[in-house]
């Protein structure tokens, strides 16, 4: 117990770092993922090929390798950013491949007849997309996006080993100060549970509000 009370600010900073990473990387992943999903369903072959390549490569890359390449590789091209920005970039790009697949399968759950009906009513492409397809796809997509973002929060632990301030990294100073290792890890575990349970609660609320049983 002392470990937590005596190092509250250290843990707080770690937790804040994890939350910060998770939020920024989620935003990047959602934006990139939706863009890539749009590419993958576009009627333009080269965009489809690019989207497919993006998803295939990133889904089969170990996240550690991606962190390694981004954190230590991009500076070779003269791109100097704070470590946190690099971590957000790596996490966001990695997760965007999974978000893309979720969004794409969400669009595919909308029955073809819905689009056909909308077009036969004379709706334009924008109207079909905005008023018919996306609202239905959005509802189907809520639970899988939630579990993808929980996975992102858990994956953010890797950033700690690449000199980013986050929760898992707090074990090191605590260890050096001679606190009980087991207890410091117990509080780290509690911190992660806090983050993942919060995300899952947010998505439960979203699903209650927007989701529809099919």
């Amino acid at each position: 117990m002392d470990v937590l009370t005596q190092n509250f600010s250290l843990y707080g900073r770690g937790l804040l770092g994890t939350v910060e990473l998770t939020v920024y990387a989620s935003l990047l992943a959602l934006a990139l993922g939706v863009l890539m999903a749009a590419f993958r369903v576009a009627p333009v072959a080269s965009l489809r090929a690019f989207g497919t390549a993006w998803v295939t490569v990133l889904r089969n890359t170990p996240l550690t390798l991606l962190f390694f390449a981004v954190m230590l590789g991009l500076p070779r091209f003269g791109l100097i950013l704070p470590f946190t920005a690099f971590a957000v970039l790596a996490l966001g790009c990695y997760t965007s491949a999974f978000i893309c697949e979720v969004v794409r399968s969400g669009i595919n759950t909308v029955p073809v007849g819905q689009g056909e009906a909308a077009r036969s009513l004379g709706m334009t492409f924008e109207q079909t997309l905005g008023a018919v397809v996306l609202p239905q796809a959005f509802r189907a997509v809520i639970p899988p996006v939630g579990s993808t973002l929980i996975a992102l929060a858990k994956n953010s632990a890797i950033a700690g080993s690449f000199s980013v301030t986050e929760l898992l990294g707090t074990y090191k100073p605590l260890n050096e100060m001679g606190y009980s290792i087991v207890w410091s890890f117990v509080w780290i575990a509690v911190g992660y549970l806090l983050v993942t349970l919060t995300i899952s609660a947010i998505f439960t609320v979203l699903e209650k509000r927007w989701g529809v049983p099919r």
């Binding site: 369903v41 009627p43 333009v44 072959a45 080269s46 965009l47 489809r48 690019f50 295939t56 490569v57 889904r59 089969n60 890359t61 170990p62 996240l63 550690t64 390798l65 390694f68 390449a69 230590l72 590789g73 070779r76 091209f77 003269g78 669009i107 595919n108 909308v110 029955p111 073809v112 819905q114 689009g115 056909e116 077009r119 492409f125 079909t128 997309l129 397809v133 858990k154 994956n155 953010s156 632990a157 890797i158 080993s161 898992l168 074990y171 260890n175 290792i181 087991v182 890890f185 780290i188 575990a189 992660y192 549970l193 993942t196 349970l197």
Partner: protein
């Protein structure tokens, strides 16, 4: 492209022309980006001989191969142990005894909610074990818990009639499980199981963070060598295709299993041997 999607009709001649124009523009933009990346690589001298020279040395090649072997070793151990742990935990969750069920549920839920790296670090730092056992333990706990849920879902997905028929034939619960439900459940879940093994393979690279001498670690050693002018980008260009290739091979297996499963036994066409000259009967003197 598929005939109709929910988003578009089959395009007419004018739309086809417009799409072709978009395609041309998109291709040009993508090519421009590619050219810019290559320009950056050349501009920062990444293709210089001095940076690629180390890959010609025997010692470096053995270093990389040993790293790859270590990665595969960790993956093999983690895969075997997590399949075993998954089986045990799934059996626990399907148990008739309430305490066993609760315990298994608690274990599964806890390890699924924890980042796998926290477990690896905990085993490595707190229990002070060697990097390989720490990595394998962490991966086993996480992937075993996920696989337990997969197995359970597989058993639950088997048609209810199968279980009822087996019980009404007088089989015991263990027999119902081992002879009827588990074989069918595992077959249904094979793609999910292989996909989880891809996750385990990708996560072996976490061993890099606890100084396990795996593939990425070997790459890091080469990349931080001043004699070769810090060949960081060449190392990434060598290592990532190998990793991505291994994972894609395994993902492809998962897809193959999924495709095989969609094929129904009932509607599959039966291959009949083409008619041909019959094998000569013993004593047949017409042929040869």
């Amino acid at each position: 492209m598929t005939a109709t999607t929910v988003l578009y009709d089959v395009p007419g001649p004018r739309t086809v022309r417009r799409h072709r124009l978009y395609g041309l523009i998109a291709t040009l933009v993508l090519l421009a980006v590619l050219a810019w990346v290559i320009y950056l690589l050349v501009d920062t001298d990444q293709f210089a001989y001095r940076k690629w020279m180390p890959f010609e040395y025997k010692g470096i090649q053995t270093l990389l191969l040993r790293g790859l072997a270590n990665t595969l070793k960790a993956f093999g151990l983690a895969a075997v142990f997590s399949l075993a742990l998954g089986g045990v935990l799934a059996a626990g969750r399907l148990s008739d005894h309430r305490p066993v069920r609760w315990l298994a549920t608690l274990v599964v839920e806890f390890f699924r909610a924890m980042p796998v790296l926290v477990m690896i670090f905990f085993v490595f730092v707190a229990l002070k074990v060697q990097p390989l056992p720490a990595l394998v333990t962490g991966l086993t706990l996480y992937n075993g818990s996920v696989l337990a849920e997969v197995f359970r879902a597989g058993v639950a997905s088997v048609d209810r009639g199968q279980r009822e028929a087996a019980y009404s034939l007088g089989l015991r619960k263990t027999q119902v499980m081992t002879y009827v439900l588990v074989p069918q459940g595992v077959r249904a879940m094979l793609p999910a199981i292989i996909s989880q093994l891809v996750v385990a393979l990708k996560d072996t690279s976490l061993g890099f963070l606890i100084t396990y001498e795996e593939f990425l670690h070997a790459g890091k050693l080469i990349a931080s060598n001043l004699d070769y002018d810090l060949p960081f980008i060449p190392v990434v260009m060598v290592i990532s295709p190998v990793y991505i290739g291994m994972c894609m091979l395994l993902s492809w297996c998962a897809n193959w299993a999924a495709k095989r499963q969609r094929r129904s036994v009932k509607t599959e066409k039966v291959r009949v041997a083409p008619p041909g000259p019959a094998a000569p009967m013993p004593g047949d003197t017409r042929g040869s």
